[in-house]
């Protein structure tokens, strides 16, 4: 076997030779192949990710563990992370997406947290097969999440032909754990048992991480189907209960799930983080098939497996728990002092490698901070696209476009209510969950429009963070932490690496301005087929502390006569990267968000709950003011309508601009002056309309255009002309 067969470069192979002081054998080469793959080592993104801030008041565990952990209050911690399963979901949509859900849930469980929510961010193409892929992905997410019993409470979807052959499936999981329940992968002590729990190991998913997820798609992709794993949510459920019950005894040294690169990654990471070595006896690993070789056992990515580290003294207390949940298990080895990972089979040593070299020595691509500075300063030219007249048909086309219309065909296939915590589910822009036994609830948002990053990745990075922080601010919720899902093409290409640099610099700059930490995330590169790459796409998940979760700030008005106020952070109106532009012109750069001003808007919204008696707020996003107003109208009692006025000479831009930091506020006219005061100088707050007793939407742009509620409802639910 050659180093290229396992996806290593000449340079990497030479480093391995020199660090080992010898040539690795075939099994060892396989171990390096998976652990030094892009997917496992983050070698092309690690140095860029170091720009992200990780510190924050609520942060309990930053990046480097299975998931980030933040403090909700003095009793509960929250573990959360986003993960992608892009490549497998293209090759086999149902199982690819299902195992993505299973994988991120195990990351949360391995931190000792009981999962309480899932959120999905999906990107699909526009060609004929896109609908089939979407149907499979949605089926897969639902099949796993519904069966294991974790609600999918929020999410987003967007479409572009750049995702035709590289759909994106990013899933975020959120879990809760009592303060003293924390566990991690750092506590393994010499002499302790390595106990493998869960599904018997099979020949599935071998090289899933190193070859499938770490290379571009090409002619050979069809042969990759066997590298996709198959999910079993039933076993996942039993494994979850067994693992959480075992952790609750406080008798485990450490826990590590088995995900990409299976046993190899799990044991190597665990030993490396704990500063120990281990012996593994492969004949003790329960296998589904006879005659599996050491190579196959070590590299299998069979799902629903977990590794527990437990001392011989404590094992008798743990074993009955595992037996109760009827999960297959086996003691497969021991932790030892000597820093070696020794893999044996029936007494023969098959590999012996220091975990430090395996898990800690992969060379990484240096970040180019001079590129980031160039990108920051090089503000793209904004579009001069400025249609003169407002056309109601165009408005309906935007509302009914794939990027704006209702997602109910997707989210109704997910159980969004199980666990009975969902106060706000997928009908809203963010999810709000109560937590049993605590006053504070969870605010969860997930967003990352690729369109905004398409022509200016830096702007897209700023906007993605700005959006989720704004969604939480509108609820007066404190942002506890963010998780980032980064998706891009082949980083070996200078253009792609430049895009990645801009995207991550944008995320980092926005996090610094809003003073919010990133506690972990995921990078998926090589989203490229036959040389065509996706738009650099960052998906940001936010977890916040909601102070009044049983009583969210409404996102639509509720009575006649309420003022409709538009907040605009200032700067030029622009249609750059808007859905309107996409439909009726050519996609251009997204206007760079003015984060200093936006931060002041958020501060004002944050304070509003305590200072204004009753009001509603909705962020203006895809489709601009027109779509935000329509969604608010459709959520109001059917007897109510809205009348909104915009300036006749700039109606289209005012109605469809998607510039960051815009909101609609609905409030009692008596309270409007106090709201304006809160906004402070330089932030435009303008009364643009009011709630009417007529159930329809009237847009005044010079003359009045009337949109029937039923027409809006049909267009929003079924698409333009639907």
């Amino acid at each position: 076997m050659n180093f290229r067969d396992v996806g290593l470069t000449q340079e990497e192979f030479e480093i391995i030779q020199s660090q080992l002081g010898r040539n690795p054998n075939d099994l060892e080469l396989g171990l390096f192949g998976v652990l030094w793959s892009e997917h496992c080592s983050y070698k092309s993104s690690k140095s860029l990710l170091s720009w992200l801030p990780h510190e924050g008041r609520a942060v309990v565990q930053g990046p480097g563990e299975n998931a980030g952990v933040v403090a909700l209050n003095d009793r509960l911690h929250v573990a959360f992370k986003v993960e992608s399963h892009n490549h497998p979901s293209y090759v086999e949509p149902v199982q690819g997406a299902a195992t993505g859900v299973g994988g991120i849930l195990r990351d949360i469980i391995a931190m000792g947290a009981r999962p309480v929510a899932l959120a999905d961010s999906l990107r699909f193409g526009t060609d004929n097969s896109a609908a089939i892929i979407q149907n499979g992905v949605v089926e897969g997410i639902g099949r796993y999440g519904n069966a294991i019993g974790i609600p999918t409470v929020t999410g987003e979807v967007a479409y572009s032909s750049v995702y035709d052959k590289n759909p994106l499936v990013n899933v975020m999981a959120v879990g809760l754990l009592p303060l003293d329940r924390g566990v991690n992968a750092q506590g393994a002590r010499p002499g302790s048992y390595l106990v493998l729990l869960g599904q018997p190991t099979g020949r599935d998913g071998i090289h899933g991480a190193s070859l499938l997820a770490s290379q571009d798609f090409g002619d050979a992709t069809e042969h990759m189907r066997p590298t996709v794993q198959v999910g079993d949510p039933f076993m996942g459920k039993m494994l979850m209960e067994a693992t959480l019950a075992a952790i609750a005894t406080h008798k485990l040294d450490a826990v590590q799930d088995l995900g990409a690169a299976g046993l190899t990654s799990s044991v190597a990471e665990l030993c490396y983080r704990s500063g120990v070595g281990a012996t593994i006896r492969l004949e003790e690993v329960p296998c589904r098939e006879q005659g599996m070789t050491p190579y196959e056992i070590m590299l299998s990515e069979t799902q629903e497996r977990m590794l527990l580290v437990v001392s011989p003294d404590n094992w008798p207390g743990i074993e009955p728990i595992v037996q109760h949940w009827e999960v297959p298990y086996s003691v497969i080895g021991e932790i030892m002092d000597e820093p070696h990972l020794v893999i044996t089979m029936r007494g023969d040593i098959h590999a012996m490698v220091p975990p430090e070299i395996l898990a800690g020595s992969c060379p990484s691509r240096p970040a180019r901070s001079e590129w980031a500075n160039e990108i920051r300063q090089n503000v793209p030219h904004l579009t001069s696209f400025r249609p003169l007249t407002f056309d109601p048909e165009q408005a309906l086309a935007v509302l009914g476009s794939v990027d704006c219309r209702s997602r109910h065909r997707i989210f109704e296939r997910y159980d969004s209510m199980i666990l009975a915590n969902t106060v706000w589910g997928p009908l809203h822009d963010l999810a709000i969950l109560r937590t049993k036994g605590s006053k504070e609830g969870l605010a969860i948002a997930l967003s990352g429009p690729g369109r905004y990053a398409a022509r200016d990745p830096y702007s897209g990075g700023l906007a993605a963070v700005s959006r989720v922080v704004g969604l939480l601010a509108a609820q007066g919720a404190d942002v506890l932490g963010l998780t980032d899902g980064i998706n891009a093409g082949n980083p070996d290409k200078e253009r792609v690496f430049r895009e990645l640099t801009g995207l991550i610099a944008g995320v980092a700059d926005a996090c610094n301005i809003f003073a919010v930490p990133v506690t972990g995330g995921n990078v998926s590169l090589h989203n490229e087929t036959e040389g065509d790459s996706i738009w650099p796409t960052v998906v940001i998940g936010a977890v916040g502390r909601h102070h009044h979760p049983l009583e969210p700030v409404p996102d639509s008005p509720w009575q006649e006569g309420m003022d409709i106020v538009r907040i605009y952070p200032g700067g030029d109106w622009s249609l750059g990267a808007s859905v309107f532009e996409l439909l009726f012109s050519q996609l251009s750069a997204y206007p760079r968000p003015d984060l200093e001003r936006i931060r002041r808007v958020y501060q004002a919204l944050d304070e509003a709950w305590n200072k204004i008696p009753s009001y509603g707020v909705r962020m203006i996003g895809a489709g601009g003011l027109f779509v935000a107003a329509t969604k608010a109208l459709l959520a109001m009692p059917a007897s109510l309508g809205m009348e909104i006025s915009v300036s006749p000479d700039d109606a289209v831009r005012q109605l469809f601009s998607e510039v960051s930091g815009q909101f609609l506020i609905f409030c009692d006219p008596q309270a409007t002056p106090r709201l304006m005061e809160l906004l402070g100088p330089g932030i435009a707050g303008e009364i643009i309309g009011s709630v009417t007793p007529d159930s329809n939407l009237v847009i005044r742009a010079g003359r009045a255009h009337r949109f029937e509620r039923t027409k809006l409802d049909r267009t929003f639910r079924f698409g333009y002309g639907g």
Binding site: E139, G142, R143, N146, A147, I148, G149, D232, P233, F234, M235, K237, M238, W325, E326, F411, E412, R413, Y414, D415, S416, M417, I418, L419, A420, T422, V423, R434, K436, L550, E551
Partner: protein, 227 residues
Amino acid sequence: MKVGVIIFPGSNCDRDTIEAVERLGMEAIPLWYTRKSLTGIDRLILPGGFSYGDYLRSGALAAQAPIMEAVEQAVSRQELPVLGICNGFQILCERGLLPGALRPNSSGEFRCTWEYMRITSVPRGFAGLKEGDVLRLPIAHHEGAYAVQPGQLQSLFENHQIFLQYSDETGSVHALTNPNGAVANVAGISQGLVVGLMPHPERAMASYLGSSDGQRFLKAWLGEGSQ
């Protein structure tokens, strides 16, 4: 009152159900599927979920679990009120403790939505519900289309066994208010003291969760409801 809640491998609404029962001031007793006796249990709930991963057919494997022998005996002696919710309903049908079967939704897809449903006839032992009442409860299932043998439907109606039908807000039952293809919009049926329904009352325990009608329903089943 001691309310037993059976937990099969793969049950996932057991915690929600236990919490709902406790919220109504009752004692909830989790019962692992291997139990062979129901001594000391006053009422029994089979909660929702994916028992045995829904493998073979929803409810088919759980219907053969050891504890179901004891359930069957208690039912035949007419001494134990039993409530099956969603997967619990499927299990009761598979065991033959309720007539009919649950087929895959007509859309072929899982569906999680809020639905209105009307009380068509009040099953034995319920207090505080009356015919014509409309409830708002969530559904979340893939196999929820109630089906019966040809000719059986009429006798079920005549015997007042059809107790819950998907309807609109005003209680009117028609094709547009059928979320899953169930025959005659049937959402729940009863036979003696055994009751099964596809919707999830345990998720509708407070208006901030979308509805408190589930609380009203469970209270009625516990015999604690008031008019």
